[in-house]
């Protein structure tokens, strides 16, 4: 079985103001259909650069990306456009990802129009269907995006990603800005969409506990390199790299004794 996504030797260096920063250094990873790869690492480890390279928003200096058996890095023009339907993204700040004056219907209508997926007359029904899939009421379509709550907005961002029927969604800190009581619901939604549609996710976060909750495998990044790529259980129980050990140690523990008792 061929992997849905395979990257080989991806490298990317940014330079400017007399400095060179190696954002990606020989990154090779694979992802199977319907699987979630958690990508975890500290700030500046290269996670978001990798996300942007995977989406071909940033060109790598070296290496290649194979998606569904095709060299994605070599695609141009119509072939690239049609491949873009199959790989979607959700970022941390949904407000920044939407035109501030757009309504929910505008935000969801754009990909349908751009990719020619629903004509003007079918569009309202398709928008209602997408809202339903992410657990939002149809009536939300008429509301401006900036007026709805943060949790609703991130659901709209997920609905927009679903609009093109993708096989892969790259989620870059997609739940990090949400209230904790909303975060769990959005994670449940992502997992149930994966079960229904067999979507694969690259789930990026600096929070190892959240990554562990939703990922089948975990890749730990630091300094542009993947320092560990293992099944979830082993990264927590037996972290091999210094970075993984630091990430495990840094997860906030719910200390039910309170600080007033015990160690003080």
């Amino acid at each position: 079985m061929t992997a849905l996504l395979r990257t080989t030797g991806l490298s990317k260096t940014f330079s400017g103001a007399g400095r060179r920063v190696t954002a990606l250094d020989d990154v090779s990873l694979t992802l199977e259909a319907g699987e979630t790869l958690g990508l975890v690492g500290p700030s500046g480890s290269g996670k978001s650069t990798l996300a942007r390279v995977l989406l071909r928003l940033v060109a790598p200096d070296a290496g290649r990306i194979d998606f569904a058996g095709t060299d994605f890095t070599a695609l141009r023009g119509e072939a690239l456009r049609s491949m873009r339907k199959r790989i979607q993204m959700v970022f941390q700040d949904p407000l920044a990802a939407f035109n501030p004056r757009a309504t929910v219907a505008d935000a969801l209508g754009d990909p349908l129009r751009v990719h020619g997926l629903a004509g003007r007359r079918e569009r309202p029904a398709e928008i209602a269907r997408l809202l339903g899939r992410v657990g939002l009421p149809e009536e939300l379509a008429a509301r401006p995006v900036h007026e709805i709550s943060g949790g609703q907005r991130q659901r709209v961002a997920i609905a927009r990603a679903l609009a093109t029927g993708p096989e892969l969604i790259v989620l870059d800190e997609a739940v990090s800005a949400l209230d904790v009581t909303v975060r769990g619901q959005v994670l449940d939604l992502l997992v149930s969409l994966q079960r229904q549609d067999g979507i694969a996710y690259v789930f990026i976060s600096h929070d190892l506990a959240v990554v562990r909750a939703v990922s089948h495998r975990i890749a730990v990044m630091d300094g542009g390199r993947i320092v560990e790529q293992v099944p979830v259980q082993s990264v927590v129980a037996n972290p091999q790299s210094a970075t993984a050990r630091a990430l495990v140690a840094a997860v906030p523990r719910l200390n039910l004794r309170g600080a007033g008792e015990g160690d003080r």
Partner: protein, 259 residues
């Protein structure tokens, strides 16, 4: 622990004609304690921080009492230090790090510039900035997010305030730096006998160091008490929901084995 540092009674704050950002708040903050104020977006937690610090904007209307120990309103910057989420925005971009920390000491401690600058160097060492002599001469934008927050903490404690208010000081940082900053604040507050008000959305994060926890929800104080009590037997359903929403390394995973 001595008496109360500040007592809030029937505090209600509105902005312009908007709904109450805080309503019916009765809360005591004891001198020397570490109080965590927990809430989500729109809970009023930042308004509470600004009200304590005397930094509310002009269109804020305050009803009720904020009574300070000794009766005198503390001076922000001198008696109250403030650390914000975004250290980059709270530091002056055109002043060198050493100068802006020294400025606080010069202004509030009556030090000469030379004394204040030396104090500034000591503070940078105290907040564990590596190579403090070099960092004295750098600008905030040249530092990482974690180092910037350390500088902001140094500036906040430069005048040796009685009260340090930290409003989501680690929310823009990764978990590794977050753990370092929390440990640093905890140590600084203990060493100096300062009172700490730590505002956060993360009840697990504060469970490691807070003496007491106050929970805000939709502009109201739903619960306040000793940390162990609030965490172990929350009286309010919302507090219980916050605790059960925590995702840790022992939380059951949401997925099974891949199909």
């Amino acid at each position: 622990m001595s008496g109360m540092l500040v007592t809030l009674r029937g505090l209600r704050i509105t902005y312009g004609e908007g709904p109450a950002a805080l309503s019916d708040i009765d809360l005591d903050i004891a001198a020397g304690e570490r109080l965590a104020v927990i809430g989500e977006s729109g809970s009023g937690k930042s308004t509470l921080a600004l009200a304590l610090a005397g930094l509310l904007p002009d269109n804020a209307r305050i009803v009720g009492d904020i009574a300070w120990d000794g009766g005198e309103r503390p001076v922000p910057g001198r008696d109250i230090g403030f650390v914000f989420q975004d250290a980059g925005a709270s530091l002056n971009p055109v002043l060198r790090v050493g100068e802006q920390v020294a400025e606080v000491a010069q202004r509030h401690l009556g030090m000469s510039w030379r004394e204040a600058y030396a104090h500034s160097r000591d503070l940078l060492a105290q907040v564990q900035i590596p190579a403090p002599d070099t960092v004295l001469n750098t600008y905030a934008h040249q530092l990482s997010g974690g180092q910037r927050q350390r500088v902001a903490i140094a500036a906040a404690i430069a005048a040796r305030p009685r009260l340090l208010i930290a409003d989501e000081p680690t929310s823009a940082l990764d978990t590794i730096v977050q753990a370092e900053i929390v440990a640093l604040l905890d140590r600084l507050v203990q060493e100096a006998g300062m009172t700490l008000v730590f505002i956060s959305h993360d009840i697990a994060l504060v469970s490691g160091f807070a003496d007491r926890i106050a929970v805000l929800h939709a502009a109201r104080l739903v619960e306040a008490g000793p940390a162990a009590e609030v965490l172990r037997s929350p009286k309010d359903a919302y507090t219980a929901r916050l605790i059960s929403s925590h995702i840790g390394l022992d939380t059951p995973r949401l997925i099974g084995t891949p199909s």
